[in-house]
Structures are given as C-alpha cells and as structure tokens.
C-alpha cells in the first residue's frame, strides 16, 4: 500500500511540473508583444535564406549507433535482475551469465571489425 502512495506522489509531481512548464512556455508566448515579419520567422542559417530540405538526409552511422544502443541497453536490462539477486547465484548461473556476455562481446568485436563505428 505504501508503494502505491509513493507512485501517486510521483504522478502528482509529474502533473504539477507539466503544468508549470506549460504555463512558463505559453506565458512567454502569449504575454509578450510580437512583431512578426517573414525574415524574422525564417529558419536560422547563418545569414543566408534557408535552402533545401533541412531533414533531407543524415549520416547512416547515427542509425548504426542507435541499433547498437538497442542491443546494449537490452543487455543492461537483462543484467539487472541477475545483479540484484547475485547473493542467491551459483557457479552455474555465473558461468551462464559469462557465456551471455562473451557472445555479446564477440558480436561487438565483429561490429568494430566491420567498421560500424568508424567515423572518419
């Protein structure tokens, strides 16, 4: 029962901070005077008029990093239960966890050798 109360507090904090930040943002938006003309509302591009599509293309390596992150973040999520209950672990479960880590490391070495993390 106690735990549910604590999460209720977090929910209340979430709502209050959400309300506060929305008030702040829209206060600045609605209260202050606005003088709008085209040049001012254009995207910033070092003095030039913006040309081309800003979201056209980006480096594929950002995508690769994101995929690698998915794998390793999942790994961390898997390791969490093991780490907390380590006091009730045996040698067998330890070696299974080592095998899991070794498989991941082999994959990681493969990624590096393939050049997925070469940025220059």
């Amino acid at each position: 029962m106690l735990v549910t109360f604590e999460f209720t507090y977090i929910l209340i904090l979430l709502f209050i901070s959400l309300a506060l930040s929305m008030i702040l943002f829209f206060l600045g938006y609605f209260l202050m005077f606005k003088v709008a003309y085209e040049d001012k509302l254009m995207g910033y591009e070092c003095g030039f008029d913006p040309f081309g599509n800003a979201r056209g293309e980006f480096d594929i390596r950002f995508y690769l990093v994101a995929i690698l992150f998915l794998i390793f973040d999942l790994e961390i999520t898997f390791l969490f239960p093991f780490s907390i209950s380590i006091m009730s672990m045996t040698l067998a479960s330890y070696s299974i966890m080592l095998i899991f880590l070794i498989i991941l490391t082999i994959g990681f070495i493969y990624e590096i050798k393939k050049g997925a993390l070469d940025w220059s």
């Binding site: 977090i10 904090l13 943002f25 600045g28 202050m32 606005k34 800003a54 992150f69 961390i76 969490f80």
Partner: protein, 317 residues
C-alpha cells in the same frame, strides 16, 4: 488509511518544495559556474546585480521571460512546443526519487536506480523532437549528434551503475547510501568512478563533450531556433540534469547524504565544481574521437569492471 484529498494535498505541497528548491538550486548553479570559471581565468565574474552578483541569475531569468517567443514558419508548431516542456518535466520528475538523506526523500520507492535510468532515457526525446521540429539544418544536426552521444554514453554509465548495485546488493537509493557506512564505494570501485564521471559529463552534454553546442560549427545545436521561455526551459532542464548527475555521483561513490546534511550537500557541490573545473580546463573533443572514446574505450572497460565486480562478489560469498 489516508484519503485521496490528503494524499493529493501532501503530494502537492511536497512537489512545490521539490520544484522551488530545484529552481533555486539551478539558478545558483549557473551563478556558481560563472563565478568559478571567472576565478579560474582570473576574472571577477558577474558582480553588478545584487551583492557580489548574487541576484544575477534572477535578472537573467527575468530577461529571458521578457523576450519575444519566435516560432519559425517552417516548424512543426505542436512538437516545437512539446520539446522544451518535455525536457523540463522529465528533469524535475527525475528528482522525485533522489534521496537527500536516509529518511528524507520525496517518494521512497524501492527501485530508485531503475526509475532514474528509465526516466533519464526519455530525456533524449526532448532533444530529438526539438531538433526535428525546428526544421533547421543546424538544429537537426545538433539534435542528432546530441542524441547519438547521450545514447552511447548511457550504455557505459548503465554498466557502471550495474556494478554499483551488484556491489551494494540493492537498487534502493537510500539503502545504497546506508551500505556505504563503512567504506565509500569510490575506494573499491575507483576505476568505475572515473568512467562514471566521464560518462556523466557526456550524458549532460558538458564540455569537453559539448559537441551539440559546438558554437564554431553548429551555433547552438538543437535549441538554435528557441527563444524566450522555450530556451529557458531547455536551459533549466539541462542544469537540473547536471545537478542530478553530480548528486548521483556523490550518492553512488562518495557515501551520499547520510547523517550530516551539510557535509552531504558539500559532496554534491564538489562534484558540480569538478564539472565546472573540467569545463574551464579541457578543449572540446572532435565528434569521431567522442564516439571512439564512448564505444571503444569506455564500453569495454565498463564491461570488464562489471565482470570483475560480479566475480569478486561471488568469490567473497
């Protein structure tokens, strides 16, 4: 048994205390940064507004609020508004489980570390959305860089945090602080502390890893199109995260805030000061160097430390 009104009232009051305390903390953290940097460069720093410049952050905040909000025509208006609101909200909610003492915590949930890891991951969305919604090349590149950087260093930081909870045997923040009664975790886990410090710098986009804000190439990164309160929200969120990271490092490695609150606060402030020290000392990394450091140095080392810690704990048992 409490009734709902009581819970809401209590929660609301406690929330207000957390938010006001956090905002004051952020305001003076910015002043601290400018003062410490000035002292390191033999300058005076802000000293005009108030006594020795103590009111400078308030004046800065007021100035930002009085500015005009400009929303670019090409921007996605709704996402453009959501991004700073999300960033600021997340950075406040993160503080709900931060214990400032063994008994004094806003919400004493049993899995505080997990909560912090989970919620801080959402922070990346604010940056990605800001970069995307601005529809400007600089903002887009800055957002991408920032997201890739935070994501890369989150892995190393996560592995170090795993080592800590393995060593402490709990994911409750208060219990982690209590477990350091005999010896601070910085002593047995010193390499982990170094890695965590570097990762914390990169996680919060601090120099020398402030690539998203590299003025010379990207002007200001993902928040280049934001002005007025939108920018202020990003700024507040960023500094709240920096303070959170320094307090987190103090809690995980320096024994946290156990009996003496002043001493505990000094641990957090000393971490904050070393963040500033690093900023005043080191030049900025290049982006490929940053990625190499994150993936090819920190990650293997963090894995090694983790394997070492689980082996050690099992051997002691």
């Amino acid at each position: 048994m409490k009734n709902i009104l009581q819970i809401v009232l209590e929660g609301g009051l406690k929330s207000l205390i957390v938010i006001i305390g956090l905002l004051i903390g952020v305001a003076f953290a910015t002043l601290l940064e400018r003062k410490v940097m000035a002292a390191m460069q033999k300058r005076r720093g802000p000293n005009v507004v108030g006594i020795v410049g103590l009111l400078q952050p308030l004046a800065d905040g007021l100035k930002l609020v009085l500015k005009e909000t400009i929303i670019p025509i090409v921007a996605d208006k709704i996402i453009y508004a959501i991004a700073p609101i999300l960033t600021f909200t997340i950075s406040i909610v993160l503080w709900s489980v931060m214990a400032v003492g063994v008994q004094s915590v806003f919400a004493s949930i049993n899995s505080g570390v997990l909560f912090i890891l989970a919620i801080s991951s959402i922070g990346v969305y604010g940056i990605i959305l800001a970069g995307w919604a601005s529809n400007s090349k600089y903002a887009f590149l800055g957002g991408l860089r920032s997201a890739a950087q935070m994501v890369s260093y989150e892995v190393a930081l996560g592995l170090i945090i795993l080592s800590i909870i393995t060593y402490a045997g709990t994911i409750n923040i208060q219990e982690i602080m209590e477990n350091q009664n005999k010896i601070w975790f910085i002593v047995p886990l010193f390499p982990g502390f170094l890695l965590a410090f570097i990762s914390a710098l990169a996680e919060t986009n601090r120099p020398p890893f402030d690539l998203p804000e590299a003025e010379a190439e990207l002007v200001s990164g993902y928040n280049v199109e934001y002005s007025s309160t939108g920018f202020a929200l990003f700024f507040l969120g960023e500094y709240a995260n920096i303070i959170l990271m320094s307090v987190l490092l103090a809690v995980f490695f320096l024994g946290g805030i156990v009996h003496n609150k002043i001493l505990g606060a000094m641990k957090g402030v000393s971490m904050l000061c070393s963040f500033i020290w690093v900023r005043a000392t080191l030049p900025r990394y290049r982006y490929d160097q940053l990625m190499y450091l994150g993936w090819k140095s920190l990650l293997p080392f963090a894995l090694l430390i983790y394997v070492g810690v689980i082996s050690m704990v099992l051997m002691i048992k």
